[in-house]
Amino acid sequence: MTAATSVDWSSLTVGDALPELVLDVTATRIVAGAIASRDLMPVHHDRDYANQQGAPDIFMNILSDTAYCSRFLTDWAGPDAFVRRLAIRLGVPVFPGHTLTFTGEVTRLTREHDEGLVEIELRAVNDLGEHVSGTATINLPIAR
């Protein structure tokens, strides 16, 4: 749930942890994300096709990963946050039945005029190991 008010940049410290985002991954969640992101690759909705590709089940698409990462950032940072950069690398796949947990930490704070930049290191792990690792930069207005 997005915080009603945004994080106060000047109150942040390097090492601050972001609140975890925990997802129960179902086939419905995977298919809903694939279709909403307009990714019709059959491996994300057709188990038989996924099996032919050597996967045991359908798996989450990368557009869903970037979507959940940005949600993870703004659930914490609030409606005034701008996501300026997000770079992720995929590890193990996410299948129905997994629990996917996003964690993150503030790694750098810099100021540019009236904007506060926050660099964040983030990862998402599931039952098989690390699914996503990455970095992000958001900016927040600085109250005068």
Partner: protein, 183 residues
């Protein structure tokens, strides 16, 4: 006549647009129904995406599209019939040459591995998005847990109706020969 190797054919494509026919244009302008559908699918309750009053009161001064939807706007309208036979390609014809070369060489599997977004500005309702994608690199054949494959990296530049840059995305996929693949 000299026979060119697969690697030579792949490297010849580097630095060039991946498709033919110029930039891709979003089938529809940025709109509230697609944003609402996206926000619901990812259970993203950020009010700046769907609540006009809260969005107006925010730093964004109005509804904005989720930044990670940038790639979604330019996804082609899919033709469902035959999509599996086309290896998941949403459209007929206009095959991306680098992917066609690899598929024809047996690297029929596709798996995304990296996505890096730089967002220049958030999109607003009515924005018309175009995108041009250039092939940045193709790796030599590598052994992966899925089988032998090549990593393919391209960079997409997204622009608005005035040609102003909205954002950039570096995207990497693995084209692999499935170990337990279709025989």
């Amino acid at each position: 006549m000299t026979e060119t190797t697969l690697d030579e054919q792949l490297q010849a494509l580097v630095g060039r647009p991946i498709g033919e026919g110029g930039p891709a244009h979003a089938p529809d302008p940025v709109n509230q129904p697609m944003i609402r559908h996206w926000a619901a699918a990812f259970e993203d309750a950020n009010p700046v995406y769907t609540d006009p009053v809260a969005a107006a009161a925010s730093r964004h001064s109005g509804i904005v599209a989720p930044p990670m939807m940038l790639q979604t706007w330019i996804m082609a309208t899919p033709k469902i019939t035959g999509i599996a036979e086309r290896g998941g390609s949403p459209v007929e014809g206009g095959r991306v040459k680098v992917l066609a070369l690899l598929s024809d060489a047996g690297f029929v599997g596709t798996l995304a591995s990296n996505s890096e977004f730089e967002i220049v500005r958030y999109l607003r309702l009515g924005d018309e998005v175009s995108a041009e994608t250039v092939l940045e690199s193709v790796s030599p054949e590598k052994q992966t847990r899925l089988g032998p494959g090549h990593f393919v990296t391209w960079v997409t530049t997204y622009t608005d109706a005035c040609g102003e840059v909205l954002g950039r995305q570096r995207f990497r996929i693995l084209k692999f020969r499935p170990v337990a693949g279709p025989s």
